[in-house]
Every structure is written in C-alpha cells, then in structure tokens.
Subunit: 229 residues, 2 copies
C-alpha cells in the first residue's frame, strides 16, 4: 500500500461530504474508499473552477457555497446553465463524455468542494457497483432538472418563473411564509434565464400577489395566491 501524499479533507468537510447524496447512500466500506479519493478544493468568490474547452480532471461535489455553470456566447456574453449548491455534483458527465469541458464553472462566492480524480473514479466505478448506482442517480437527477429548466424557459414568463422558484423553495406549510435567498439576486436571475433587471421587475409584478422583497428576505403573504400565477 503506497503512502498517500495527497491532501486530505479536514474532519469538518468530511462530515459534510458524508451527508451528501453522492455518498450518503453507500455502504460504509465504499464510503471510506470515496473519502480516500476526495481532495479538498477552495475557491474565492468569482474564482474560475474550470473553463470550457479545457481538459477535465475532476468531478466535483460542493461542500459549501454556490457555483455557476455557464457557457460563453460567441460575442462574449455568458449564459448560466445551472446553479449548484451544497451537496450538488457537477462535471460528472466528464467520467464518460470527456475529455473536454463543455461549459465553465465559477464560484459565485467563497466555495469549498471535494474533488475526485476522474481516472481514479473510473476505476472505482468499475469495481464498486454502488458507486456506479450513486452516480447514475445523480446524473439522472441533473438531467431531469435540466429538462425541467428547458420546459420552464419555454413556457413560463418571468413572474411565473419567480413564483415557481419561490414555491419550490418554501416549506409547504401555512399561507404566510418568509424565505431567505441563499445567494445574490443576480445569481437567481441567471438561474432563471433572466437579466437582473427582469428579475427585479418580476418581483414588482408579484407585489400585488402578496410578495414583499427586502434585501435577501422575501415574504409571501398568500401562498395559494402565488400558485395561481
């Protein structure tokens, strides 16, 4: 057994990683193998994690913070494809569809991740059915939510998208609810496929429906009214 000089996750990060959908469902022995492979990564706000076109080396599981997956347009404009938060896995497609990234990833704020070397993961997937199953699950989940994103882009207006987001991220109880946005509004705008101004206007549109915005705090005075939008 060769001595492993690679950097390891600290205890705190380990604990977070264990709670992750990628890992939590595995048998303890397999979890241990995954922890073996996990390398820590930290990125400052706005730090680039990888760029589209470059060769993929890792798959990532977020431990804290939010990450923006986006693509560059010919004219330099950027379009967000997906916003990932704690527990989310990204670049998992590079296991089979490499070698080059099809999109860029950027830390939207200070971010810590667990990185898994793709080569080693391929070997582990080959040996451990459970890991294959977990990855399949994660990928299928990502696919379904991306498909839903396409559908929402195509048949919802801006206020509808916002209402949909709020309803999807609020406790199902009660009629009066308040939500704290986990990230900046500009990031939410990107996630919903809107310019920041359009998000602002969408919130204004929802005000008559009982939505109050103050900073990151959003109050919904009547949940059922929002569902009608």
């Amino acid at each position: 057994m060769a001595m492993n000089k690679l950097p390891k996750l600290n205890l705190r990060d380990r604990a977070v990683l264990m709670k992750t959908p990628l890992i939590s469902g595995l048998a303890p022995s397999v979890q241990a193998r995954m922890l073996e492979l996990a390398m820590p990564g930290t990125f400052a706000a706005r730090g680039i994690i990888f760029r589209e076109g470059t060769e993929a080396e890792h798959l990532y599981c977020i431990l804290s913070g939010y990450v923006r997956l986006f693509r560059l347009g010919r004219d330099g404009r950027e379009a967000d494809i997906r916003i990932c938060g704690p527990g989310d896995v990204f670049a998992e497609c590079m296991l089979t569809m490499g070698p080059r990234h099809r999109y860029s990833a950027q830390a939207a704020e200070n971010v810590t991740v667990a990185r898994f070397d793709l080569q080693k993961m391929r070997m582990l997937v080959e040996r451990e059915k459970e890991v294959a199953r977990a990855l399949m699950q994660v990928t299928a989940n990502n696919l379904l939510s991306t498909m839903e994103c396409v559908a929402n882009d195509r048949l919802q207006t801006a206020p509808q998208r916002v209402a949909h987001y709020l309803l999807a991220n609020c406790p199902p109880e009660g009629s009066e609810i308040s939500i704290r946005l986990p990230f900046q509004k500009s990031l939410l705008a990107g996630k919903l496929g809107l310019a920041p101004e359009a998000l602002s206007r969408a919130f204004s549109t929802l005000k008559p429906a009982g939505v109050t915005v103050r900073g990151r705090l959003i109050q919904i005075h009547d949940v059922s009214a929002l569902k009608q939008i």
Copy 2:
C-alpha cells in the same frame, strides 16, 4: 427456463437495435440479454407514448421515426424539451427517479421502438456492469445535450439557432451542401424552442447568407458564411 410468451422483436428491428449506442458497445452475451428484454412497440403519427404524471413502466430506444418529449403548461400550451430520433433512448431516468413521468412523449410520425421493462432493467443493471456503463453513457450524453440546449436558448437568436442546427447536421466537407430535414419544420421549430412562424422568418433571414429552402430540402451555398452568423 420458463417459456417466454412476451412479444419479440422481428429480425429487422433486432438488427437496427443492435446498431444502437445503447447496445452496440456491449459484449455479445450481454447484448443477448438485452434482446431478451426488448419488446416491440409501434405508434401511429401523433400517438401518445406516455403522459406526464403517469407511472413509468419502460425505458425506450427508438428504432425508426421521431419522438417528441414535451411538457404541458398550466394554460394547455406545450413546450418541446427534446426531439429523439433513431438510436436515441428516452425515459431512462425513470430507472432511478420514478415512479412518475415528468414529461409526455408523442410520436411525431409512425414510430417503432424497443421497450424495456424498468423492473427487469433494474435487475439487469445490477447484474451486468456493462449495462450500467452503457446507461450511464446514454444519460450523460442526454444531460450534456440538454445543457447545451439551455445555453443555446439563452444566448442565441432564432437565425443563430437555425444556423447552428444546420451546421451541426451537415457533412463537414465542401462549401456547397444540401440537407434533407428528417422531420417536419414544425417539429424543428419546437426543437429549437421557436414558434413555426419564427422558424420560417429565421430561414428568410438566412437567405442572404446563402440558404435556400424548398420543402424539406435545404441548400447551403456557403458553409463558412453561415458560421459567421
């Protein structure tokens, strides 16, 4: 070995299925197992294959024809999420993310498919790593193209989307090329997230760039000019 009363694929369909990415990479013995499970399905033009909200029973691999995956809006409008053609697999997410379909599937024309019972597939995936790998590959592929779809929707105009589609579906040779659309224009419009009228106008816009349309036949007089759009 119990006598199997299930309908089987005919020889022709078997041959087509074997060429499919889902099957072609497998070892012969595993291919045989897959063929065992494959049940034939035919759908008339406009026939509904399954509806969103219903319980998923199969995953599908298309043998001939095109299938429209779409979602219903609250107001009854429909938005296409993906257009699948021969060799494509759909509803594969239902292996792990069931039990209910998140979108509907409709035959855009006469269609033949191979259906695989989800229960049996789950067992086969458990036994045969190769099948798991093939499905992982298919799903990752679907995820990447769906992500690209989101990006294209968000940063390309209608003429750009059409140009992109044409360039992605033409032989890379020469500067003068003609393409035969494999399906109706209304379907292409849906695939690109456009109303049929918008597709028509996009083609008009491309006429100065050397694109001629007559029925399903499209002539591109200057490929490199199209790339500038």
